[in-house]
Amino acid sequence: MKDQTAKTESKRDPLVRLVKRDSVSAARSVIVHAAAILLAMLVCGIFFVIVTDSSIIEIYSAMVSGTIRNSITVNSFFKEACMLLIIAVGLAPAFKMSFWNVGGQGQVLAGGMAAAMWLYYLGNKLPNAAIIPLMIISAAVGGGIWALVPAIFRVKFSTNETLFTLMMNYIAIQLVKYLRITWSPIHALGMISRKAGSMPSLFGNQNGWIYVIAAVAVIMMYVYMNKTKHGYEISVVGEAPNTARYAGISEFRVIIRTAFISGAICGLAGFLYVSAIDHTISETMGGGYGFTAVIVAWLAKFNPIFMTLISMLISFIRSGSSEIVSRNTTTLDSSIANINIGIFLFFMLGCEFFLNYKIVFRGGKEAGK
C-alpha cells in the first residue's frame, strides 16, 4: 500500500536539507553580503561581455570611469544616490510601522507638483529667498497629503494601504500629465527664467544642497526612529498593535502622523527634482525611484547606514551601465541599467536566504556560505 512505498523511501536521510540559523554573527553577515555584491558584479560584467563583445576588463573599467571620470560624472553619481536615499529614508518609518507605503513615486510627484505650482504662478514675481521656502513647505505638505489619504482610510475603514498607496501613484501621474499641458510655460523652458525657484549652489556645487539634505535626512531619521518617543511608538504599533492599545498608545494618531512624515519626505524629494534637478515636472520624474526605494529600505532593514551604501551601489550600477550604453549606442539603450539593478537586487535578496538558513547535505556535510 501507500504506506510501504513511503517507508522504503524514507529509509534514507534527505539529500539536502535546510537548517535555520539561530542568529547571525556580524562578521558572517558582512562576508555573505560582500560575496553577494561581488557575484552580482561578476554576473553584470558577464552580461555586458555577452551583449557588447568587449572584454570583462574593459567593462569594469568603463563602469568605473563612467562614475569617476570627471566632476560631472561624480556629481551625477552622488546626486542619483542621494535622491534614492532620501526617498528610501522617507519610506522607512512607514514600513517600520507595518504600513506598506508603496506610493513613494506618487508622493514624489505630488511634492513636485506642489513645488512647481509656485514656480508657475509666482516664478518671476517673487525673489528666490521667498519662493524656495514656500516650495519646500508645500512640497512636504503635498507629499504628506498623498500618504495621508490612504492612512486615514486605513485607520477609519481598514482599507488595504498597499493597494491604496499604489493607486495614488497613478492619480499623481495623470495629474502631472494634465498640468504639463495647462502649465505649458514651465514645460517650455525659457518662459520662466531658469534661475527662478532654483536651489542655489552650495560649496560651489550645483548639487550641494541635495547632498546636505540627504545627509541631514539620514541622520535625523536615525535619531527619530531610535532615540525618540515617536520612534518607539512606531515600533510598538508596527509590531504589536494590541500591545499599543494596552499601553495607551493611540494607533490612529501614530499611523496618521507617521504616514504624513513619510509622504512629506518623499514630497521633499519631489521639490528637489523640480528646484535643483529638472526645473520642470514630468510624470517620469524620479525615474521610478519611488519603487526602487522600497527595496532599498527593506534590504537595509531600515538601517540608515545600509540604506546609504545600497543607494550608492545602485547609483554606481546606473552610472556604469549608462557609460557602457553610451559606448554602444547602436546596440544598447538605457534600460540596460534596470536589468543590472535587477541582477544586483536578486543577489542581495538571495543572500538573505543564506544568512537565515544553512544547507546540510546527506552525511552531515555542511555547505559553506
Binding site: 524514507s10 536521510d13 534527505p14 535555520k20 540559523r21 515600533s235 504589536a240 494596552y246
Partner: protein, 536 residues
C-alpha cells in the same frame, strides 16, 4: 504486563508484539545554533499507552515531538517506528508513518468547514466526494466519542471544538501515534474531562498517545507512564502508578520542592475598587457582562473563577479602560486620600496613572503587553516611555528596572537587549508580570498569570502576588485552576455568562461549591446567551 518492556531483546519482536514499541528514539540530539535543545535522548513509547512527557519550560519537550512529527530533523540519533528505522523528513512522512501531532496553536483554516479542513492537503482524485468524507468523520467520532459537526465552519467553533477537530483530522489520516502538545492549557475542567475520555477510548483502541503537559494532577489522572526531561536531557521514565505529584515535580526540577501555596492572613483591609452595575456588550451587541457589582480591598487577593469566556477578560479590560461599557456602569477607585474617582470614561493612561495596573496575560503572551522584537529594557518602558522630558526617550530608568526584574525574578536572557520573543514562555511572562509589579500599583489585575508556566515559575509568581498583597495592594487574580484559586485567594468571585454568580470565602469554600457556581446552579438566573456555541 511484565514483558511489554521495550528492552533490547524485545525489540526484534516489537513490530509483531501487541504491546511492542510504537516509537523508539535513540541518541537524539538537536541543536539550534549554540543552544542544545535535545541532548542524546533515548526513550520509547509503547503501543496502546498514554505517555506523559513532563518537563519545565525550555526542557525540550516540544522540540523532541517536532522531530517525530517531521517539523525538525534531528542532528544526531535514530528514530524507529514500529521497530523499523524511519527518517521523518516532513510532516507528510510523519503522517505516512501514522504519527499525528496536535499543536498548541491550531493549524486550521477559519473559513472552511470541519470536513474541508480535514481533507485539506490529502491526495485524492480531482472530484471530491464530500458525503463519503462526512460519513468517515462521523464514523470516527462515533468510535471514540467525539462530537464534531462536519459542516460547521471553524470560525464558529470554540477552542475545545477546534482541538477536537484537530484530533479527528489526524485520526482521519490514519494516525496510530498521537502527540498532544499541552492540550488542556486552553480547556475548562469539564472539557478536559471530555478530552481524557476520548484519550482513554483511543488507548483502548491500541493507539499510542504522547501528551505534553505541565499539570501534575492531569499526568496522574491520564497517563500510564511519565517520561521526564530536564534542560534538554532525558532523566527517567516512571510508571505513573508508582509515582506521586511530589516525586514527579522533583524529578522535573531536579531539587526538593514544597508544593504548598502560602496564604498570609489579610490585614489592614482598605477599600480600593467598587464596581457597580458594570455591563458590556460585544461588537455584535451580545451582552458580555451584565450588572457586575463587587468591591476589591487592598491587602487581599480576590480570585475570579469561571469557565473561560464568561466575561473575565471584559471585566478586567473595562476596569483598565480598554473596553467600552454601557451607560449606568460605575467603577469607583478609592485613593488613600481624597474623594473616590470614577474610572469609567477615563483613558487607559489616566487609569494607570492612578495606580491601577493590569497585567493581562492572554493566550498569546507576546500579542498584548510586550513587543517581541524589543529587548527587556525597551519593553520595560512601554507604559512609562512618555514621561520625562519631551521628544527623546530616556532609557536609564527602564534599563535599571530591566536589570532588577531579571535579577529578582530570575529571568534567563542572554542580555537585556535580546528580543523577548527569543526567550522561553515562562521568562516572557516573568518580564510582563515583573514590569506590572514594578510600577508599584495599588490595584494589580492579572489574568491567567501562570498559564503554560512550569511549576517553579508558577510558584515564583504566586509568591510575587502574595508579596504585593502584604504590601497592601488589592490583587485581582483571574485563574483557571480551581485548586490554586482556593489555596491562594482570600475571596473568590465566580463569573458565569457575564454575571456574578457568587462570591465565596476561599478558606471555607470547596471545589464542588465553586464548580456549582460556575455552572450557574445557586447563582442568579443566567444572562440570555444568543451565542448558541458559547461555553456558558
Amino acid at each position: 504486563m511484565k514483558d511489554n518492556n521495550c528492552d533490547m531483546e524485545a525489540r526484534t519482536e516489537a513490530a509483531s508484539a501487541p504491546n511492542g514499541c510504537a516509537v523508539r528514539l535513540t541518541g537524539i540530539t538537536k541543536r539550534f545554533g549554540s543552544v542544545t535543545a535535545n541532548s542524546n535522548i533515548t526513550m520509547d513509547v509503547r503501543r496502546g499507552e498514554v505517555l506523559a512527557l513532563l518537563g519545565e519550560n525550555g526542557s525540550g519537550k516540544t522540540t523532541l515531538m517536532n522531530m517525530l512529527s517531521g517539523i525538525y530533523y534531528p542532528d544526531e540519533g535514530t528514530i524507529e517506528i514500529n521497530g523499523e528505522a524511519a527518517s521523518i523528513r516532513s510532516p507528510k512522512d510523519a503522517f505516512d508513518l501514522g504519527i499525528g501531532m496536535i499543536h498548541q496553536h491550531f493549524k486550521l483554516v477559519d473559513v472552511f468547514t470541519a470536513a474541508e479542513n480535514i481533507v485539506l492537503g490529502l491526495p485524492g482524485k480531482s472530484s471530491l466526494n464530500m458525503r463519503a468524507v462526512r460519513e468517515r468523520i462521523l464514523e470516527i467520532c462515533k468510535k471514540y466519542g467525539f462530537d464534531v459537526d462536519p459542516d460547521r465552519k471553524v470560525y464558529n467553533m470554540s477552542v475545545s471544538e477546534k482541538q477536537t477537530l484537530e484530533i479527528v483530522k489526524v485520526l482521519y489520516r490514519g494516525a496510530d501515534i498521537l502527540i498532544l502538545d499541552e492540550p488542556t492549557a486552553v480547556l475548562t475542567p469539564q472539557e478536559t474531562e471530555r478530552l481524557f475520555d476520548v484519550i482513554r477510548n483511543m488507548r483502548a483502541d491500541g493507539k499510542s498517545i504522547i501528551i505534553i503537559t505541565h499539570k501534575l494532577h492531569e499526568v496522574m489522572e491520564i497517563s500510564d507512564r511519565v517520561a521526564i526531561l530536564r534542560r534538554g536531557e532525558y532523566i527517567t521514565t516512571l510508571e505513573t502508578k508508582d509515582a506521586d505529584e511530589k516525586t514527579l515535580a522533583e524529578a522535573m526540577v531536579g531539587e526538593k520542592l514544597s508544593l504548598n501555596i502560602d496564604r498570609p492572613e489579610p490585614h489592614g483591609l482598605v477599600k480600593r475598587l467598587e464596581v457597580k452595575g458594570l455591563s458590556c456588550v460585544d461588537p455584535e451587541g451580545v451582552p458580555t457582562l451584565t450588572d457586575i457589582s463587587f468591591s476589591a480591598y487592598g491587602g487581599e487577593i480576590l480570585g475570579v473563577a469561571g469557565i473561560s469566556g464568561c466575561g473575565q477578560r471584559e471585566l478586567l479590560e473595562s476596569i483598565a479602560g480598554l473596553e467600552s461599557t454601557l451607560p449606568g456602569s460605575s467603577v469607583l477607585y478609592y485613593p488613600d486620600d481624597g474623594e473616590p474617582e470614577e474610572l469609567i470614561g477615563k483613558s487607559p493612561r489616566e487609569i494607570r496613572s492612578l495606580g491601577v495596573a493590569l497585567s493581562f496575560v492572554p493566550e498569546d503572551r507576546l500579542g498584548m503587553g510586550l513587543v517581541g522584537s524589543m529587548g527587556m529594557t525597551d519593553n520595560m518602558m512601554l507604559k512609562s516611555y512618555n514621561s520625562g522630558a519631551p521628544v527623546f526617550l530616556h532609557k536609564k530608568d527602564p534599563s535599571a528596572l530591566a536589570g532588577s526584574v531579571r535579577d529578582d525574578l530570575g529571568v534567563v536572557t542572554p542580555s537585556l537587549s535580546t528580543p523577548v520573543r527569543r526567550l522561553s514562555g515562562g521568562n516572557v511572562q516573568k518580564v510582563l508580570v515583573g514590569r506590572e509589579i514594578a510600577e508599584a500599583p495599588t490595584v494589580l489585575m492579572t489574568a491567567y498569570a501562570v498559564r503554560g508556566l512550569d511549576i517553579n515559575t508558577s510558584y515564583a509568581i504566586y509568591k510575587l502576588l502574595n508579596e504585593q498583597k502584604e504590601k497592601g495592594v488589592a490583587v485581582i487574580y483571574v485563574g483557571e485552576d480551581i485548586d490554586v484559586l482556593l489555596e491562594l485567594c482570600d475571596r473568590i468571585l465566580i463569573l458565569c455568562g457575564g454575571v456574578v454568580s457568587g462570591i465565596v470565602d476561599a478558606a471555607s469554600a470547596t471545589k464542588e461549591e465553586i464548580g456549582l457556581y460556575m455552572t450557574k446552579a445557586g447563582g442568579p438566573s443566567p444572562a440570555p446567551s444568543e451565542k448558541g456555541d458559547d461555553v456558558c
